[in-house]
C-alpha cells in the first residue's frame, strides 16, 4: 500500500478546521500524536488568523475501559485544560481513529471539567473498525487497515511528520474488544 504524506493530510485537515474557529473554540489534542497535530494546527491557525486560540491536552488514561484488564498506563500524562470548558466549542484532535474507545474516554474526562457547547472530532486518518457509535467529523484521509496492522505516526526533530505501517503476527492478534486501544493503532 502506498502511504500518503502525513503533511498533506494535515493540510487537508487544517482546511476543514479553519472555518470553524471562533472566539469560543478550543483545540484539544489527545496524547501523544494528537498533541503534536494540535500544536502544528494551533501555530498555523494563530499565524493566519492573527489571534490566540484556546487549547488543551488530554490523555484519558483514568477513563479507559481496559483498566481492569491492563491496569493504569505508567506513561500517562496529566490533563491540561487551562480554560473554562463551559460553553466552549471543542475540537478534539487525534492522529488515528480506530475503535472509538479513546474518544469515548476523552469525552468523559472533558465533561468532568465542565459542559462544552459542542464537541467535534478531527483525526488525521480514519482506519475503520469503530466499535462504538462515534465517528470523526473531519479526517485527513480514510485508509482502511487490517486488524493485525497498525499505523505509526512519527515526528522528527524538525517537527516533520512521517507515517509507516507495522505488522504484528496475525495469529497473536485476537480481534477482541480491547485490541487497538493502545497508542497507536
Amino acid at each position: 500500500m502506498t502511504l500518503p504524506d502525513p503533511e498533506q493530510l494535515l493540510d487537508h485537515l487544517y482546511q476543514q478546521i479553519k472555518p470553524l474557529i471562533q472566539e469560543d473554540t478550543a483545540l484539544v489534542g489527545i496524547y501523544t500524536g494528537g498533541v503534536w497535530l494540535m500544536e502544528r494546527l494551533l501555530k498555523r491557525l494563530q499565524t493566519e488568523l492573527g489571534h490566540d486560540i484556546l487549547f488543551g491536552k488530554l490523555d484519558a488514561a483514568m477513563y479507559r475501559d481496559d483498566y481492569a484488564q491492563r491496569g493504569l498506563k505508567t506513561t500517562a500524562h496529566p490533563g491540561y485544560i487551562p480554560f473554562d470548558v463551559n460553553g466552549k466549542h471543542i475540537i478534539l484532535i487525534d492522529d488515528i481513529f480506530y475503535t472509538g474507545r479513546t474518544t469515548r474516554a476523552v469525552m468523559n474526562e472533558l465533561f468532568d471539567y465542565g459542559r462544552p457547547a459542542s464537541v467535534k472530532l478531527a483525526t488525521l486518518i480514519n482506519r475503520g473498525g469503530a466499535q462504538l457509535p462515534i465517528r470523526p467529523d473531519m479526517v485527513g484521509a480514510d485508509l482502511p487497515l487490517q486488524a493485525h496492522q497498525s499505523f505509526d505516526l512519527a515526528m522528527n526533530t524538525l517537527g516533520r511528520l512521517s507515517l509507516s505501517v507495522s505488522e504484528s503476527d496475525p495469529s497473536a492478534t485476537k480481534p477482541s474488544a480491547n485490541s487497538g486501544t493502545d497508542a497507536h493503532v
Binding site: 483514568m62 491492563r70 491496569g71 493504569l72 468523559n108
Partner: protein, 318 residues
C-alpha cells in the same frame, strides 16, 4: 528473594513497606501521582478508575487523619468506602484479625487499608487474602508507614527535583517513628546521597546507622547546609519510661526555630507529617513560615494514595 508485595510479573500486589521495593516501582507510583494532583482542581473531583470497587479501611489503631486521607483518595477514584474502627468493635468482643478480615472478604471487599499498633499486621493479612485482594499498610507499630514515606518523597521531588544532589535531615523521635523508617528507605532507593538524623540518643534506635544515615545529636551541626528538614512528631502516646526530661526541654534542644532553620540552605523546605505539636518539635513561626510545605504535603498525600490504589486496583481481571 520472595517479596510478598510483588506478584509473579513483578508488579505491585500489596503496599506493605518501602523496604524491598525496587526504584522502578517507587518511580511509577510518584509519576502516576503527578497525574492525580490536578484531579482535585477540576469541576468534578473524581475519576472512574475504582467504580464498583469497595475499599475497606480497617483501623485497629485510631487515626482520624490517616483514615480521612485514604477515604478521600478512594472516593476520588469512585470507590465505595467502608470504615471500620476495630479498636472499638469486634476485637473488643474477642474476634481474631483473620475472622474480621474473612468477614469483610465475604462481603466482597476489593482492597484493605490496614492500620495496626503491632508491627507486621498488614503483612500477616496480606498473606491470608485471596490474590484479587490488595492490602495497603497505613501504619503498623514502629515498623512502616509507606504511603507517608511516599508522599514525603513526592513533596521533596516537587520542590527539589534533583534528588541525587540533596542533603536531607530527619529530626526528632526516630525511635518511635515508622514514618522515619519509610522515609529513609524511600530516599535511599531514589538516590538521595546524604541523609542525616538528628535526635537525642534516647530517641534513636540502636542500629540506626545500618540504614545508611549520618547521626547527629546537635541541631546546629545537623542542620548546616541541608536542603530539606523533615520534622517528626514527638510521640507522647508511645513513650514509656523516662526518655525525655520534658517536652519544654526537648524544644530547647531539638525544636525547629527560625534561628536554627537559618543554618540550613536559604531555600531549604520544612516538612512535618502531622499532627504538629507546636512549641514542642516546631516553632509556629517556622510551621507557618515561607519555607514550610506542610500543607502541600497533605494535598500531595491524597494524590499519592490515589496513585497507589489505582496501581493496585487495575489489571487484575483475566
Amino acid at each position: 528473594m520472595y517479596n510478598p508485595q510483588l506478584n509473579a510479573q513483578g508488579q505491585l500486589q500489596h503496599l506493605l513497606s518501602i523496604e524491598g521495593l525496587p526504584k522502578r516501582i517507587l518511580t511509577d507510583i510518584l509519576d502516576t501521582a503527578e497525574n492525580f494532583v490536578g484531579v482535585a482542581e477540576r469541576e468534578v473531583k473524581k475519576v472512574p478508575l475504582l467504580r464498583g470497587k469497595t475499599v475497606c479501611n480497617i483501623f485497629f489503631e485510631n487515626s482520624t487523619r490517616t483514615r480521612t486521607t485514604f477515604e478521600i483518595a478512594a472516593k476520588r477514584l469512585s470507590a465505595d468506602v467502608l470504615n471500620l474502627n476495630v479498636s472499638t468493635s469486634s476485637q473488643s468482643k474477642g474476634e481474631t484479625i483473620l475472622d474480621t478480615v474473612n468477614n469483610l472478604i465475604a462481603m466482597h471487599a476489593d482492597m484493605f487499608v490496614v492500620r495496626h499498633q503491632q508491627s507486621g499486621a498488614a503483612h500477616f493479612i496480606a498473606q491470608h487474602v485471596p490474590p484479587h485482594i490488595s492490602v495497603i499498610n497505613a501504619g503498623d507499630g514502629r515498623h512502616a508507614h509507606p504511603t507517608q514515606g511516599l508522599l514525603d518523597v513526592f513533596t521533596i521531588r516537587k520542590y527539589k527535583p534533583e534528588m541525587h544532589n540533596l542533603r536531607v535531615a530527619i529530626v526528632g523521635d526516630v525511635l518511635h517513628s515508622r514514618v522515619a523508617r519509610s522515609e529513609i528507605h524511600a530516599l535511599t532507593t531514589l538516590g538521595v546521597p546524604e541523609i542525616r538524623v538528628i535526635a537525642p540518643r534516647t530517641l534513636l534506635p540502636t542500629d540506626v546507622e545500618k540504614l545508611g544515615v549520618q547521626v547527629f545529636h546537635n541541631m546546629e551541626q545537623g542542620l548546616k547546609d541541608v536542603d530539606v528538614v523533615m520534622m517528626l512528631r514527638l510521640q507522647n502516646e508511645r513513650m514509656s519510661g523516662a526518655l525525655l526530661p520534658s517536652s519544654q526541654e526537648f524544644f530547647q534542644t531539638f525544636g525547629l526555630t527560625p534561628e536554627r532553620l537559618a543554618l540550613a540552605k536559604p531555600d531549604a523546605i520544612v516538612m512535618h507529617p502531622g499532627p504538629m505539636n507546636r512549641g514542642v518539635e516546631i516553632d509556629s513561626a517556622v510551621a507557618d513560615g515561607k519555607q514550610s510545605v506542610i500543607l502541600p504535603q497533605v494535598t500531595y498525600g491524597i494524590a499519592v494514595r490515589m496513585a497507589v490504589m489505582a496501581i493496585l486496583g487495575g489489571g487484575n481481571a483475566a
